[in-house]
Amino acid sequence: MTPAARFAIVIAALPFAAAALPSPAAEIPLNERLSAYEDMSRDNKAMQDDDTSNPGILAVLDGEMVWSTPAGASGRSCADCHGDAKSSMKSVAARYPAFDAAAGRPLDLEQRINLSREKDQKAQPFAAESKELLALTAYVAMQSRGEPIAAHEDPRLAPFIDKGRALFNARQGQLNLSCAQCHDDNWGKSLAGNVVPQAHPTGYPIYRLEWQSIGSLQRRLRNCIIGMRAEPYAYGAPEYVDMELYLMWRARGMKMETPAVRP
């Protein structure tokens, strides 16, 4: 049985299954928002809190090495232009996805890193979910740990936040579910053994126990989409970035936790 089929059975067995759901999804009031950190067991919280035991730190250390290793025809490293990431990258991840004028749309942090790799370093972009890309993203994002997620007030982002919101609220897949039905309307309840989180992307890339590795927000979205038995988008698809943007806007003001640990 595939995980998607398993998810379908679990969903069908739950009291808040699709038919019983109240139809309009209401956004969570700002003062009721919670990081999924709060839903975790004491052991898993401890794993995230201690940098000598958080496995996500292994990726951050790899990322630090990638940051300072020259790459591509330019022969330059990230550090050669950006200097010390601790200052130059502080709060940067909290502002992503950000609008890119050349692309005419928002790019997420992974895409921005790969753009600089192609354009500035003249190197091959890293593959989606590759160890190097996740490591470098985790290293950059960790420089925002404890910083509030930006409000994404750039007016050019507004239509893309709307697109992301529409995707979040759209019923999809064979289960005919929307993201909002779980994460806006039923957060805090149990979905089998899991607490349904509010889905705030405060700690990406995350070290997910289910994956036993670090992974991106796009991987997590893909995971949910498969769970709803819908067709996932290809990595890097604009739909994912729009959803990432909407979720970050929805989590505005919450503190970054990268590299977070999640079950």
Binding site: T52, P55, I57, L58, L61, D62, A135, Q212
Partner: protein, 107 residues
Amino acid sequence: MAARTLINVPPKAKRGEIIQIKTLISHIMENGFRSDNIGKPIPRDIITAFTCAYNGEKIFEATLYPAISANPFITFHTVATESGMLAFQWTGDNGFSQEATAKITVE
């Protein structure tokens, strides 16, 4: 990328003090009981042994089996006896071998 290790040893300790040592290493710990999506068995690839030596003397050992989580985390204790070097070694399937060291000053 080579395996990444993360060792936590207090840099300074008093003679006779019991110190905690924490170790983390990147490794997939493929358990050998799984199949890929076309049903082909995925061969086992795990770390099977871990040792720690304090100025050359072995002070701790562990034998790991497939039930150890990916990116093995092991903590243990030792008595700080003298200044010097703690040497860590992980070995495993497919010739895997990784070393790391940490300095300690004992006053």
